[in-house]
Every structure is written in structure tokens, then in C-alpha cells.
């Protein structure tokens, strides 16, 4: 748990700021891109989609295809993925009472990486569609293996985390071995590992929505339990909370959230760590606030990061994982320097 120095916003104001950030990020992202759409016409075309609003727009057929088939699904998918990663990160941090835990830990990223690599190398006959499914399954399998290995070692959260690190390193080693064995697939694997939203479709967004909704709902409902857990297992038990049960449920839900995100975007780091910390500075340490605010801010952060990824080297694109780490690392250091105390 981190206590932030400085003033905290009241809950309502914090929600307002987070929502405004997401809306602004979406708008900026909708207006920029390699296709150079006319900004006024783009806004008109977007507003026109709102029920009962009818606005003429000068966008031609082609521009509309770019806006509604390429740019918008990408923004929506980015928001979904960013929200999922941030919520999963915050959830893990609560479960483990450790501010350094990320949605990719506990073997989630390593498992997804191995799954995607296996699909690219050995399942290429099934076509490109096999990769997200394999990444999803790999991510969940990674967490399951880590959780089971950790649970055997004892009840402490530290044991679980260490098991997660060990399982992650092991899975990454297997993945690296397979990559070395199949050099012709290196480029494909690397692009996947670095993360990208460039292939975003409405269908992808629709496919992960159910998993996203279920996992986020479960995590959000456990905000109060995580607050109680933060005082320690003994005290939590005295207050009627079962630490192990809460831990298992939240870890499972976070794993599902992260796996859905990873399936459609590849590995995107730092969102799950940076966003919850920014939110804590904004609104204080209570998970009842940190979790829903992380959802909003994470969504806005990734949408903005993707706008950068699409425009900085246009018409080429940066891998979004590079952008989140480039922005995320300095922000993270700044947060560490400006927070007064870290209690874990």
C-alpha cells in the first residue's frame, strides 16, 4: 500500500477527472493517424453516430472506412486492453500487498508468450487466428501453474510470488529455446512479443468483451476485501474475510482479465504498474476507488499511448509496448521519488 503525499481528490471529483481523461484521450486518438483525415469532418462523422444526432460530414467513402473500420476499433480495443491490464495490476497489488506486482507476473506474460510462440511455429497451418487463442490459453495456464506451485510451498504471498517468478523464467526459457530453433519465425514472434493494436477489429473487441466484463466485475466487487486484506491476514480473518479464498478469486479474475488483453494485443508492459500508482496519488489507497479508477485511467492511458505509437514515426508504427515502457518508466521513477512511504 502506498500513501501519497499531497492532496487527495474527493471520490466524485476523481471519477470526473478520470472520465474526462478517457474522453480526451479517445478524441485525440480519433483525430490523428497516417491517413490525415479532416478533423472537423471526422468529429462530425463521429457525432453523427450518436442516436438522434444528424450531422453532415465531408468524409468520403474511403475516409469513412479508415475511421470506422481501422481507427475506431483500434481505439475501442485499446481502451479495453488498457482498462483490463490496469485493473489486473491493481488487483494483484492488493492481493499480494506489494506495489511492484504487475498483471504480467505469476507466469501470465511468459505463458502467453510461450503459447503465441508455439502457435506461430507449430500451428501455422491453422492460420493467424490460432495465435490469440494460444496466447489466451498460455496466459491462464501460466498463472495456474504458478499458483499451484506456490500453494504447495506454503501460505504466504511471498512464496506465491517467488513461484510466479520461477515459473515465468522457466516458460520464457522454453519460449526462447523454440525461437532459436525456428529462426524463420523470429520476426513474427518478436512483433507479437512487443505488442500491437494494429490488427484491431470490431470482432476482436466483441470477442474479449464477455471475458472482460466478467473478470472486471469480479475484481471490482472485491475492493472492500482487498482493503481489509491490506491490514494483514490475521486481522482480515478477525474481520471475517478469508484471505486464501479472496486471494484465489481475485487472482483468477485478474488472470482472466490479463489473458483477454494479451490475446488481442500481445505483451504490453507497465500499464498494470504505472496506472494504479497514478490513481493512488490521485485518490488515495482504498481499493474501492483504486480499482474502478484504474479501469478508466488505464483505458485512457493505452488509447493515448497507441495514438503516439501510430503517429510518432508515421506512416510506420512503433510497437505499443515500447511506447508504454518509454512513457511508463520515467513516470514510475517520478512516482517512486515523490511518494513519502511505501508499506507492503
Amino acid at each position: 500500500m502506498i500513501r501519497a503525499r499531497g492532496r487527495r481528490l474527493p471520490a466524485a471529483r476523481a471519477y470526473g477527472v478520470a472520465a474526462a481523461f478517457l474522453v480526451a484521450a479517445t478524441l485525440v486518438s480519433a483525430l490523428v493517424g497516417a491517413a490525415d483525415l479532416n478533423p472537423a469532418a471526422t468529429i462530425a462523422a463521429l457525432l453523427d453516430k450518436i442516436p438522434f444526432v444528424h450531422l453532415p460530414s465531408s468524409l468520403d467513402q474511403l475516409d469513412r472506412a479508415v475511421l470506422f473500420q481501422i481507427r475506431l476499433p483500434r481505439i475501442v480495443l485499446g481502451a479495453l486492453v488498457g482498462g483490463l491490464l490496469a485493473v489486473a495490476g491493481a488487483g494483484y497489488q492488493g492481493v499480494f500487498r506489494n506495489p511492484l506486482v504487475d498483471s504480467g507476473m505469476l507466469g501470465a506474460s511468459a505463458g502467453a508468450g510461450l503459447g503465441a510462440t508455439l502457435a506461430i511455429v507449430y500451428l501455422s497451418q491453422l492460420g493467424p487466428a490460432a495465435v490469440p487463442v494460444a496466447a489466451f490459453a498460455g496466459s491462464l495456464a501460466g498463472v495456474a501453474i504458478a499458483y499451484l506451485s506456490g500453494a504447495v510451498g506454503g501460505s504466504g504471498t511471498a512464496t506465491l510470488l517467488l513461484a510466479g517468478v520461477a515459473v515465468g523464467l522457466f516458460l520464457t526459457a522454453v519460449q526462447t529455446y523454440i525461437m532459436q530453433r525456428s529462426a524463420q519465425d523470429l520476426q513474427q514472434i518478436y512483433s507479437w512479443l512487443l505488442g500491437s493494436l494494429s490488427g484491431a477489429t470490431w470482432q476482436q473487441a466483441a470477442e474479449i468483451l464477455p471475458y472482460a466484463a466478467v473478470s472486471v466485475a469480479i475484481v471490482l466487487l472485491h475492493g472492500r476485501h482487498l482493503d481489509v486484506l491490506s491490514v494483514g491476514d490475521e486481522e482480515a480473518r478477525a474481520l471475517g474475510v478469508h484471505p486464501r479464498r479472496v486471494r484465489l478469486i481475485v487472482v483468477a479474475a485478474c488472470a482472466l482479465a490479463a489473458a483477454s488483453a494479451v490475446a488481442v494485443s500481445g505483451l504490453i508492459g507497465f500499464v498494470g504498474i504505472v496506472v494504479p500508482h497514478v490513481v493512488r496519488r490521485l485518490a488515495g489507497p482504498s481499493y474501492r476507488l483504486v480499482l474502478p479508477l484504474s479501469l478508466l485511467v488505464g483505458a485512457g492511458f493505452l488509447v493515448l499511448a497507441d495514438a503516439l505509437a501510430r503517429t510518432v514515426v508515421s506512416p510506420a508504427e512503433l510497437p505499443i509496448g515500447v511506447v508504454t515502457a518509454l512513457v511508463g518508466s520515467p513516470v514510475f521513477v517520478w512516482i517512486l521519488r515523490s511518494t513519502s512511504a511505501v508499506r507492503t
Binding site: G33, A34, A35, D36, Q61, L62, A65, V66, F68, Q69, I70, R71, P73, S124, Q125, G127, P128, Q180, A183, Q184, L186, Q187, Q188, Y190, S191, L194, S196, S198, G199, A200, T201, W202, R310, V313, S314, P315, A316, E317, P319
Partner: protein
């Protein structure tokens, strides 16, 4: 497939150091000391009995003392060249990506990360690769094994010169020259039939999807498509650092409205981006090439090598150009 120019250029951008050596910029056109290959002059060389022979490859001057009979090829293009010029029976091992011709003696050797001991085990008297990685040239020199580096060709003339040089290095210059002459004739015939001037036609050549890497008109592939007077949509996006292989965002590709799309990542092993998959990409139905079904799934191997099967690639391009312009 690993020796493909395309992959080399793309991967170099991602993994910089390891693969930087095989980018398109490293080209030194192959040439021979005794004869420039295509000149019908040197009778001794043409007879295939002129050993020792000193050649100038990308790695400098290389002397081959006697007609090699234990050749190791670490490059799919070199393997195709060797078999085309009639040196197949002198080959003892080819690398893991040399899948053509199917009779080639495929092994687990790697041209990307060559293992010197594994190569030495075949006791070769000539090794051919497309890049000098892992100290290949200097390491094998200590064992007295000559190495020819035949890097990705920058021009068609480079590709022809490499075939000539491989012919001369193996004692098959006459047949090598015949192979080149046939290639020239076939390619010229295709260009004549489809026409060499199509100022209105543009194309998008896809090396990889997500991210989308393409080629400019100045690359090896760009020059081949340029034989028909077509321009690449990637030209406007090219930066010096791209080396002719810029990355394009889907928005850019859709807006550029290419009339033909060539897929060099079409086969399952290369990403499986088939014409059907491409047609389903969001927004791509607005591209003329997709509307008119001018999305061409290429033979990825031929499209990424610079060997004797190039006329087949040219034929596929010619057919697309004829349809698109007709």
C-alpha cells in the same frame, strides 16, 4: 526461407545487431577476376577446368584450389543456384531452410547462426552463405576452407553475377551462363507481353503483416516489379533508415489505394496472410486491389530469394499486371 532479403531487412530493424549484416545495404556485386561471367571470353573458365580460380565475392578475394566436391550451402538461394548450374552432385549438405530442390541434402545447419564445428564435420572444400555471421569466414579460413558470401542481390544483374560466380567456383561456368541466358529470355518475354509502361498502376508488396512491412521501388523486388512500369505505394513513406523496407500503417495502405497487392507472407509458414485473410481485414475492402480481386498470393520462397526461379515470380507479376491494366 531465412536467407530472404525481406526477412533480413525486417528482422534487422527489430533485432538490430545480430542480423544487421544481411540487410540490403551490404551488397557487393559478385564478380570474377578471370571473366565478368557474362562475357563469352575465357574459354578455359567456360570449359570448367580452370582451377585454381580466384573470385571476388562479398567477402573479398577467394581462391579455390581444385574443383570442389564437398560443398556446404548455408543459403537457400545459393542451394538453388548450385543445383541449377549442375553442381548438385558436389553438394554434401545444405542448411535447414534450403527446401528447393527437394533432392537437396537438407541438414540442421543454420546460415543465420552458423555453427563452425557442425559445418567442419562435413569436411567441406567450399562453403557458400549469404552473410558472414559467427566468424564464419575467418573461422573456416583457419581450417583452410574457402567461403563465398553471396549476399541478397540488390539488382537483377547482381543475381545473374552470383549464378555465374557459383558456376565458376564449382566448375560449371558454361551451364551457369546458359541458366542466366534462359532467365534473361524468359523475363524479357514476360515484360514484352505485359508491357513495360503502366504509369497509372501502383502496388503494395507485403513482406509481413502486423506490422506491415513493404518494399520501395528501389529495392531488388521493387526493380523487378518496376520492369512493368509499376510504382510502389511505399515510396512516399521511405526514410533513409528504412533501407527501402519501410513499415506502413493500415491507414496509410488503405488511403494509398493500390491496384495490385502482392503477398509475400501468403503461405502458412510465413504468416498465412492469404488473399482471403487480406480481404477480411477491416477497411481493406475499400482498396481497388481488394475490390477487383487483384490480391496475389505469391510463392513466398521464390519471392524472397534471388535465384534461378525468378522468372516464375516475374510471370506471376506479369499476369497480375495484364489483368489490372486490361
Amino acid at each position: 526461407m531465412i536467407a530472404r532479403i525481406t526477412l533480413a531487412a525486417v528482422t534487422a530493424a527489430l533485432t538490430a545487431a545480430a542480423l544487421a549484416g544481411c540487410g540490403s545495404a551490404t551488397n557487393t556485386s559478385a564478380s570474377t577476376d578471370s571473366s565478368p561471367g557474362t562475357s563469352p571470353g575465357s574459354a578455359a573458365a567456360a570449359a570448367g577446368s580452370s582451377f585454381p580460380v580466384t573470385l571476388t565475392a562479398a567477402n573479398g578475394r577467394v581462391t579455390i584450389k581444385a574443383k570442389p566436391v564437398r560443398i556446404v550451402s548455408l543459403a537457400p538461394t545459393a542451394t538453388e543456384d548450385l543445383y541449377a548450374v549442375g553442381a548438385g552432385s558436389q553438394v554434401v549438405a545444405v542448411d535447414q531452410n534450403s527446401d528447393y530442390p527437394v533432392t537437396a541434402k537438407k541438414t540442421s545447419l543454420s546460415g543465420l547462426t552458423p555453427n563452425l564445428e557442425a559445418i567442419a564435420k562435413y569436411a567441406p572444400d567450399l562453403v557458400i552463405s549469404y552473410q558472414d555471421a559467427n566468424g564464419l569466414v575467418s573461422g573456416l579460413a583457419k581450417l583452410g576452407i574457402p567461403v563465398l558470401i553471396e549476399p541478397p542481390a540488390a539488382t537483377l544483374a547482381d543475381a545473374y553475377a552470383q549464378i555465374d560466380q557459383i558456376g565458376q567456383a564449382t566448375g560449371h561456368l558454361t551451364q551457369a551462363q546458359k541458366v542466366v541466358a534462359t532467365m534473361r529470355t524468359q523475363i524479357a518475354a514476360e515484360v514484352k507481353q505485359a508491357g513495360s509502361s503502366h504509369p497509372g498502376l501502383t502496388y503494395y508488396w507485403e513482406l509481413t503483416a502486423n506490422p506491415y512491412y513493404s518494399v520501395t521501388s528501389s529495392t531488388f523486388i521493387g526493380q523487378i516489379v518496376g520492369l512493368f512500369g509499376l510504382k510502389s505505394i511505399a515510396d512516399a513513406a521511405d526514410k533513409a533508415s528504412d533501407g527501402g523496407y519501410p513499415q506502413l500503417s493500415p491507414e496509410y495502405i488503405v488511403k494509398a489505394q493500390p491496384q495490385i497487392i502482392f503477398l509475400a507472407d501468403n503461405q502458412a509458414a510465413d504468416g498465412g496472410q492469404t488473399p482471403a485473410v487480406v480481404a477480411k481485414r477491416p477497411g481493406w475492402s475499400a482498396i481497388p486491389a481488394v475490390k477487383d480481386s487483384e490480391v496475389i498470393g505469391l510463392n513466398d520462397d521464390i519471392a524472397s530469394r534471388w535465384g534461378p526461379r525468378l522468372p516464375q515470380l516475374v510471370e506471376q507479376i506479369a499476369q497480375a499486371v495484364e489483368r489490372a491494366s486490361g
